[in-house]
């Protein structure tokens, strides 16, 4: 919510800047003309967009925690949104608003699903938390809860920008308005970044559909549980 409010505030400032300068802030007209504030803001937004796109997608690749990965994916999406804002045409503002709506719906759904999966998955007595933190914790959940996992996959595909889902159209609108206004370099960066970020969304889906194999960690956990209950039984017998 704070992100969206800041973005809308930026939009208001950016689109209304020229009107403010001409009509109300007449005294600052000279300052506006000499510094060319509009182009300064535009360049700042473009730089922020480029850095967000690159950092969000590249750093997101090495994350193992789901919420941290989603945070980096948000940074990447903010890059798209800032690009639409920087272009500042009628079409780009349209794509900006559509991207925000789409992103809100998808992200809300993803977090609801993560919370829901945390609630309904089976946990033993020794589990400390019902929250899902690591991506590995999704392993094999598709076989236990197929419907909610399909919903999760749809959301992730949408985030990755796979047609005919909503996320694809939002990215398409932003890229279309960028190409229409001559931002070819930024468009290429956006496409590359979209491909890179698709890989980590697909990684989550792969883990989700992966059948859980017995590994060393599980074996240790199981044996600890067994010794624990045996010790418990002995202690109870001694005390009674």
């Amino acid at each position: 919510m704070p992100k969206i409010s800041i973005l809308i505030f930026l939009l208001e400032v950016y689109t209304g800047f020229k009107y403010l300068n001409v009509n109300i802030l007449g005294e600052f007209q000279y300052l506006n003309e000499t510094l060319n504030m509009n182009s300064v803001i535009k360049n700042l937004l473009l730089l922020s967009s480029l850095l967000s796109l690159i950092i969000g997608s590249v750093v997101g690749l090495v994350q193992t925690k789901i919420k941290r990965l989603l945070a980096y994916s948000t940074i990447s999406h903010i890059g798209f949104i800032l690009l639409a804002l920087a272009i500042n045409s009628e079409q780009s503002i349209d794509s900006f608003l559509f991207y925000i709506i789409q992103y809100t719906i998808t992200n809300l759904n993803i977090f609801l699903i993560i919370i829901g999966l945390g609630y309904i998955r089976k946990e033993g007595i020794f589990s400390k938390s019902i929250d899902i933190n690591e991506i590995n914790e999704f392993k094999g959940l598709f076989f236990s809860f197929p419907l909610i996992c399909i919903c999760f996959s749809i959301c992730l595909f949408s985030m990755a920008g796979i047609p005919p889902l909503m996320g694809f159209f939002s990215k398409q609108f932003v890229l279309y308005s960028a190409l229409q206004n001559g931002y070819n370099f930024m468009s290429i960066v956006c496409i590359l970044v979209s491909v890179i970020s698709a890989s980590y969304y697909l990684k989550i889906i792969k883990v989700l559909m992966h059948e859980e194999a017995p590994n060393e960690k599980n074996h240790i956990k199981y044996s600890l549980n067994q010794t624990n209950t045996n010790a418990l039984d002995l202690e109870y017998k001694n005390s009674h």
């Binding site: 009107y19 709506i101 719906i105 919370i115 609630y119 624990n228 039984d233």
Partner: protein, 103 residues
């Protein structure tokens, strides 16, 4: 922490947990008989009652409500079926953008 210490702390923790469960049984469920799990063995294919009890408590506490499911399904369908009627959102965003762009 070595293996013996881990075992000791685990057993101590389990003992305390069992006492709490006994208290809860007596207090809220009027179960006077001893509540004690059998040692867990995978071959039996049966979960000890202590596990079931905790699952029951967890389900009671953190039940995924129908509102939650409804929200998830609605949002997923809106993402999936956007293609069928996109004009609804697109027209509204266009109106918003026009009103913002031409103040």
């Amino acid at each position: 922490m070595n293996q013996q210490q881990i075992l000791f702390y685990n057993s101590r923790l389990s003992y305390i947990t069992a006492e709490i469960i006994k208290y809860v049984n007596n207090k809220f469920y009027n179960l006077r008989e001893s509540f004690w799990p059998r040692p867990y063995t995978a071959t039996e294919g049966l979960e000890p009652s202590i596990f079931k009890y905790f699952e029951l408590m967890e389900n009671k506490k953190f039940k995924m409500s129908s509102y939650h499911s409804f929200l998830i399904s609605t949002l997923t369908l809106s993402i999936l079926l956007f293609i069928l009627k996109p004009t609804l959102i697109l027209n509204s965003t266009l109106l918003l953008s026009l009103s913002l762009f031409y103040i």
